[in-house]
């Protein structure tokens, strides 16, 4: 090949790389494991130092959730055709376009919204982008954000809004864990672009007054942005029912393994209003006829709004994010159907309430700390136990249990409190084991 192109060595091909920019020595990298067998041994040797949520009984949640992953989800996202495809045309990659259109459509039914994007990186990005969309739509530069969200997500939102948008944090009702509507009323103004809250909140608390919050926002010409856990929507009302204009969230719960936080993907959903649609940075796939009668085709909707088309003239940016997880969530919803989504929601509610009840019987443990209704997660107080959450979790770990997430760092008012997550993967035996173990640990 060198002969064919008239080069003596591959070094000739770097003619444009100045000599003084060349590396003089080989990169200082570890010795490789050239055979597949040796490589596998090496990597597995390191991974063996991990202890997993399969070996432990885990009650960790806080934005990353252990749910059952149907085998078909893994089967489909493991297929080389999907796994190794990328950015082909609507023709050679028709299946990718259809699968992502279907994902958006299935999410659309769950959310009762007509527009859903090709997934963004995670719910952090979805929330941050939704707030910037709201500012562009209203031409305002201030957003109200409920404090009952992940502190890390708030950090992301603040960084992402920093160039032009003021993020004002509104405290939650310390008794119920729900939104403090009076506080929102006081803070909302003609400057407010959006009111953002989560349902369930970071604490698992279900919001009963979503409609009032949306009304307060709308009365001031602001947009209601709600982040939701999609796996709750077989039983909980979709935010569109209580006035949400933009609905966001993470689809990790819908068929993705937890993967140390690697299974996240964010959705953004709105009504089919061009004012909203034209503010999406993401790709939106739409259905279209082809030259052959009766053939479904798919392509990019309003491509000209994107940075692919307009560089800095587009809305934020579009790029590679988490499409395969979108396809997987579509598979998940197709498998579950309306009945499955209803049952899983009911089951999570029942199990988490059973767990809360069981833990509340333990002397020194207070459950729930926040009185509002909850889904999947709830706050457990150990103030009466005379021990920190860190110590309690260390003791639980000896019993092969990962206790709930310590809330004291992000929420000083929830000192000695932990956020416990219970899903359909937990059996009664698991929950009783948690109860018995906590009894021992706290005593």
């Amino acid at each position: 090949m060198l002969r064919e192109i008239g080069a003596r060595s591959t070094s000739d091909l770097y003619a444009d790389v100045p000599e003084d920019l060349r590396m003089k020595e080989r990169m200082a990298l570890p010795e490789p494991h050239l055979s597949e067998a040796a490589l596998r041994r090496h990597v597995e040797g390191i991974l063996a130092k991990n202890e997993t949520c399969k070996e432990y009984l885990s009650f960790l949640g806080a934005g990353c959730y252990q749910h059952h992953v149907p085998a078909v989800c893994d089967e489909i996202n493991g297929r080389g055709e999907f796994l190794t495809a990328y950015a082909g045309e609507p023709y050679d990659d028709h299946g990718r376009f259809q699968a992502l259109f279907e994902y958006a459509s299935l999410m659309g039914e769950l959310l009762e919204m007509d527009v859903v994007n090709v997934p963004t990186y995670d719910s952090f990005q979805a929330a941050a982008t939704a707030l910037r969309m709201a500012c562009r739509i209203t031409n305002r530069k201030e957003v109200l954000v409920s404090r009952s969200i992940s502190p890390e997500k708030l950090s992301k939102i603040v960084d992402y809004c920093r160039p032009e948008i003021a993020v004002r944090v509104v405290d939650y009702d310390r008794e119920t864990g729900q939104l403090d509507i009076d506080a929102i009323r006081q803070r909302v103004s003609a400057e407010t672009a959006a009111v953002y809250f989560e349902n369930p909140s970071y604490f698992g608390v279900v919001e009963a007054r979503g409609e009032e919050v949306s009304e307060v926002a709308h009365d001031h010409g602001a947009i209601s942005v709600v982040s939701v856990d999609p796996i709750s929507l077989g039983v909980l009302a979709p935010p569109a029912d209580y006035g949400a204009d933009i609905v966001v969230g993470d689809i990790q719960a819908l068929g993705m393994h937890i993967q140390y936080g690697g299974g996240h993907a964010g959705f953004i959903a709105t009504r089919d209003d061009p004012t909203y649609v034209m503010q999406y940075p993401s790709r939106l796939f739409g259905i279209a006829p082809t030259a052959v009668d009766g053939e479904y085709g798919f392509g990019d909707v309003a491509y000209e709004r994107t940075s692919f088309a307009l560089r800095e003239g587009g809305k934020e940016w579009v790029g590679t994010a988490a499409a395969l997880w979108g396809i997987t969530a579509g598979v998940y919803l197709a498998l579950m159907g309306p009945q499955g989504m209803r049952e899983i929601g009911e089951g999570i509610l029942q199990r988490s309430h059973y767990a809360a009840k069981r833990l509340s019987e333990i002397p020194g443990v207070r459950v729930p700390i926040l009185r509002g209704p909850f889904f999947k997660e709830f706050v457990v107080g150990f103030e009466g136990a005379g021990n920190t959450v860190a110590r309690i979790n260390r003791s639980l770990r000896k019993r092969k249990i990962f206790g709930g997430v310590d809330l004291s760092k992000g929420f000083p008012e929830l000192r000695r409190c932990a956020l416990y997550c219970v899903t359909e993967v937990h059996t009664k035996e698991d929950l009783d084991r948690l109860g018995a173990s906590l009894e021992e640990v706290v005593a």
């Binding site: 444009d16 990169m27 399969k54 934005g63 459509s105 009762e112 890390e152 085709g297 988490a322 009911e346």
Partner: protein, 530 residues
């Protein structure tokens, strides 16, 4: 019997493949619904639990309960599987095509063993908030991979948190902002890029709050130093550029570019999405840059997943390390931990610590190659590219504008402008006809500075025979443009579907981004209100 091999090749040259893509004419998933069918059962709640807590749904406030069941389809498991397997077959993955046609995307082979490793429970079943003592393995892999990227880039500190390349660019712009703010320097409102840098270099800078100044190439296609000189000022916050550019041309004055921006008080970020041809040859640090980023799903081989999950990794100098997203992985020689105590950090850019399974795959890939292997990757990718360029430029009607007679790095942006003038066939048409032979083909990002563009990037993964086959497809299509232009203009013929009618996709009264929107707007189903 007839000699079949003689028909399949003439004088040792294989004939073009008789390809037809899978065409299942598959319904939309909702059309598969049969009332009462189920794809999977969810675990039943034990009776004791039900007895204990009762019907919790009924106890929720009325306003919080769902009134109507979601209109999801009801489909048995094997029919769901079949539907999605069919859709997968209608998707041209890199696993089974000569994927040199998606230029700038670095479609290389993603070794299967790495996918298997990432699916192990020791990776897949780790919760990000587990105690650090229980995740020493994955922290070790992240830490080791950071050391690897330091050696490759020459940078002092790495963050693996960004979810992909564009988010990494944004993170770098955010760090630039923090750097200037920390110095009390609030007048810097501009970021400079070049037109042949990825669109995200401009778009992410804009999103971070900057005005974008774009440098166009000089007559030879190199970034214009004079234009840069005119662009830099006390308003310059920094420069974010791809090098080699999306034309495959390496900017030989890259160091002078960096010096000029530094003299004006700006920072320099090196978009290394196009690093595949220069790993082990040169680095961002060598060029005097302060920040850089890599796309692990490109240079580092992790599969592209239809557009993610991916990962972006950024590298910065010591001076900028304090601004990195939280947390960073720290190692005291004995134990790995996540360090959140970083008061000057820009904060979070993505949930938790980035896309750990993708980092794992990239780590495994590097560990299968070592320093010598990685450099060989770059050299073979560049050799493949220049070989393919020779073969493609032998086809009448195509040119490689700029840097005439000079070798390119890892890709080339070609122009079919001559062929279009001669035949009326556009670059897009050529691409759609190429699909009939089982390969991808990509024009380029907008704006089309190079007229009738196409961008090919062969990476190290393809053999000489593969490259010959790809060039033969283009030669055939170019010939067809002259002999039978209609066949090209109406392509694809052997793909899954035929030419789209694009207008509904840009018309708000017709576009349908979900099935429910389609039923309401196009099918006008009863009961489907706006």
């Amino acid at each position: 019997m007839k000699d079949i091999t003689a028909i399949r090749s003439a004088q040792g040259t294989p004939r073009l493949r008789r390809f037809h893509q899978a065409q299942w004419d598959e319904p939309i998933v909702f059309e598969l619904s049969q009332p009462g069918e189920r794809g999977i059962l969810v675990p039943e709640v034990e009776e004791e639990i039900v007895r204990e807590v009762g019907d919790v749904v009924a106890s929720l406030p009325e306003t919080t309960r769902r009134k109507r069941a979601p209109a999801l389809p009801e489909i048995s498991q094997n029919r769901v599987l079949r539907h999605y397997v069919r859709l997968s077959q209608e998707t041209l993955g890199a696993d089974f095509n000569i994927d040199v046609g998606q230029g700038t995307c670095t479609m290389k082979y993603s070794p299967k063993v790495n996918d298997q490793l990432a699916r192990a429970p020791e990776m897949a079943e780790l919760h990000p908030l587990q105690d650090e003592d229980t995740v020493q393995g994955i922290l070790e892999i992240m830490y080791r991979f950071e050391q690897i990227l330091k050696a490759i880039s020459g940078m002092d500190a790495i963050s693996l948190q960004p979810g992909a390349g564009s988010q990494a660019i944004y993170t770098n712009a955010s760090i630039m902002r923090a750097h200037h703010a920390a110095r009390g320097d609030h007048g810097r409102k501009e970021i400079i890029t070049t037109i042949f840098s990825h669109p995200s270099d401009a778009a992410c800078a804009k999103t971070a709050g900057y005005d974008v100044v774009t440098i166009y190439p000089d007559a030879d296609g190199y970034p214009d130093l004079k234009a840069l000189r005119a662009a830099v000022s006390e308003r310059t916050a920094g420069m974010i550029i791809t090098n080699p550019e999306d034309t495959g041309i390496f900017n030989p004055r890259i160091r002078e570019f960096a010096d000029l921006v530094h003299e004006a008080g700006g920072l320099c970020a090196y978009d290394q999405a196009n690093a595949n041809g220069i790993v082990g040859i040169t680095s961002a640090r060598k060029a005097g840059f302060d920040l850089c980023h890599f796309n692990l799903h490109k240079t580092f081989s992790t599969p592209h997943g239809c557009g993610g999950p991916a990962a972006g990794a950024i590298g910065v100098t010591k001076e900028l390390e304090r601004f990195l997203p939280v947390p960073v992985v720290a190692f005291d020689g004995r134990r790995y931990r996540l360090d959140y105590d970083r008061p000057r950090s820009i904060g979070k850019v993505r949930a938790f610590y980035g896309v750990a399974p993708v980092v794992l795959k990239a780590y495994a890939w590097v560990m299968s190659l070592g320093a010598e292997g990685l450099e060989e990757v770059a050299r073979v990718a560049v050799l493949n590219n220049n070989y393919l360029m020779k073969k493609v430029l032998e086809i009448p009607g195509v040119r490689a504008p700029y840097a005439s007679g000079r070798p390119r790095i890892e890709q080339v942006r070609y122009s079919w402008d001559d062929l279009k003038r001669e035949t009326g066939v556009h670059s897009e048409d050529i691409g759609l006809r190429a699909a009939d032979f089982g390969v991808h083909y990509w024009t380029s990002h907008h704006p089309w500075i190079v007229p009738e563009p196409c961008t090919l990037e062969p990476t190290e993964s393809y053999s000489r025979a593969d490259l010959d086959e790809y060039a033969a497809i283009l030669r055939h299509v170019a010939e067809e443009a002259r002999t039978n232009p209609e066949a090209v203009k109406t392509a694809p013929h052997n793909s899954t579907i035929h030419r789209l009618e694009h207008s509904p996709l840009d018309n708000p009264t017709e576009w349908a981004i979900t099935w429910r929107a389609y039923r309401r707007k196009v099918r006008r189903d009863a009961g489907e209100s706006a």
